[in-house]
Point group: C2
Chain length 93, copies 2
DNA sequence: TGGGTGTGCCACCGTACGGTGACTTATGAG
DNA sequence: CTCATAAGTCACCGTACGGTGGCACACCCA
């Protein structure tokens, strides 16, 4: 699934944890964080540190993939991205 | 690419930023973080907050994907680490 | 030679992250 | 009705994240 927000990740983590039959405490131990961390993260806390998150995802058997965003265009554009257009778009903010 | 460590991500971010012709300051502005954050993150700081990271990845046009780990192929090195071993290792700190 | 730009790095500071420990509220088994 | 377990929540606290502003060095180009 594509992660667009912390809540996306939180839901995925919680679902996966339950699928694996783990409770918050077990996951916390395996990932090396506190149960509080798990609880708050699953509640959508956006300030969680990335390093700890990686440990949790690892403990859950998740892989994290990074890919250049493919513009949801009608016809799938090639891998050639229009950098200027992209820049202008962002410049607008 | 698959993210296994903060350094993986840091390298990807730095490479992408340069490809887009941005300097640290520009990326920082677009992502709404400080230049110090960009600098430290690209240097591999593992404690960066996930919320800020999402903003930076968004500013760079990156998509983040979460997938169940593909079972390590047999050809792979002895990465047959089980969770308990990982557990013990993490416990050490 | 000098100016401009990009980056590494520093000190300082307010804020809040994350850990610990405990309490409370379901929920379920016996 | 108990007892046990899981999850939500709280207070307390040390630590350090992240922002601001600045400085120095390395370039590059006129």
């Amino acid at each position: 699934m594509t992660i667009r927000s912390i809540r996306d990740l939180a839901a995925a983590v919680r679902g996966r944890r339950k699928d694996l039959g783990m409770n918050q405490g077990e996951l916390a131990d395996r990932a090396g964080v506190s149960r509080k961390w798990i609880y708050e993260f699953e509640a959508g806390k956006p300030t969680a540190e990335f390093g700890l998150l990686l440990r949790v995802l690892d403990a859950l058997g998740f892989d994290l993939e990074l890919t250049p965003r493919r513009d949801a265009g009608p016809a799938g554009r090639g891998d050639t991205v229009d950098l200027d257009a992209l820049l202008d778009e962002h410049r607008g903010r």
